[in-house]
């Protein structure tokens, strides 16, 4: 799935990384606990979270993720957007709640885990 399709499906607003909307991603994860993302995630390219702080971007960067979606109408500050821009991560925000956002993406073919890649 292209990152741009995620934007359309979640009716999301892109905050940075517009030039990477054609990038393909195959799997995603969701959590408000970055500890769990660091411990359990493997090769997922998209992170959906309702947590808003700079550590979300750093965690995504450590895990080589390509896209972070803030759900539940969360609005990140300019410092967070800047951090994502520097890291080359696509950042977007959606009004949807986590469960709905995950369900929509999963139904559209984005999986929780894809063997051998993100």
């Amino acid at each position: 799935m292209k990152i741009g399709e995620i934007q359309n499906l979640l009716e999301a607003h892109v905050l940075c990384g517009e030039d990477k909307l054609d990038c393909q991603v195959y799997s995603a994860c969701s959590s408000d606990m970055m500890s769990d993302v660091l411990a359990f995630v493997k090769d997922q390219a998209v992170l959906l979270t309702g947590l808003v702080n700079p550590q979300v971007i750093r965690t995504a960067e450590m895990m080589d993720m390509k896209c972070v979606v803030f759900v539940r109408k969360k609005v990140p500050g300019e410092d967070i957007i800047e951090l994502a821009r520097d890291s080359g991560i696509v950042l977007m925000r959606s009004d949807l709640r986590m469960f709905e956002a995950c369900g929509i993406l999963y139904s559209a073919g984005l999986k929780g885990h894809v063997k051998g890649g993100n």
Binding site: S35, N53, R58, D64
Partner: protein
């Protein structure tokens, strides 16, 4: 890859949670420039990031020294925090002494130390109550 050991040193600010992890991001960039394999870079970065977060949460900051050698990358994280009372317990997944305000920031799930061990090839913890903690981690190249 490197003819001699390359050393990086970072001070980790204990007062600013938002800047925690900045040193790990920098190490990741430098290892990428040095041409290491993505898997090695990721393991080093995650282990160091967890260590950095721990330093900020528990020890009011500290210092990190990274030594990049031909065969391995060593991270030495030292702090003057309260020390770890029971290392065996601290190594158990899910055990955490972090306060609730830290959990609200997305950390403190008790996965830090186990995760650091998981992503490295060797990990040693030297700790003394009231003196501080040094964690030495090695990732084979």
């Amino acid at each position: 890859m490197a003819d001699e050991i390359i050393r990086f040193h970072f001070d980790v600010d204990g007062d600013d949670f938002s800047s925690a992890g900045a040193a790990s991001v920098e190490v990741k960039k430098r290892l990428r420039q040095l041409g290491f394999a993505p898997d090695v870079i990721r393991r080093v970065a995650i282990a160091m990031y967890e260590g950095e977060i721990n330093m900020v949460i528990h020890a009011d900051g500290g210092v990190v020294d990274v030594e990049v050698g031909d065969d391995d990358i060593t991270m030495i994280l030292s702090d003057h925090g309260p020390g770890i009372e029971n290392v065996e317990l601290a190594m158990q997944e899910g055990y955490s002494t972090a306060r609730d305000n830290i959990r609200s920031l997305g950390f403190g799930a008790g996965m830090g130390l186990p995760n650091m061990k998981k992503y490295t090839d060797d990990m040693k913890i030297e700790t003394e109550i009231g003196v501080g903690t040094t964690v030495i981690m090695k990732v084979n190249v």
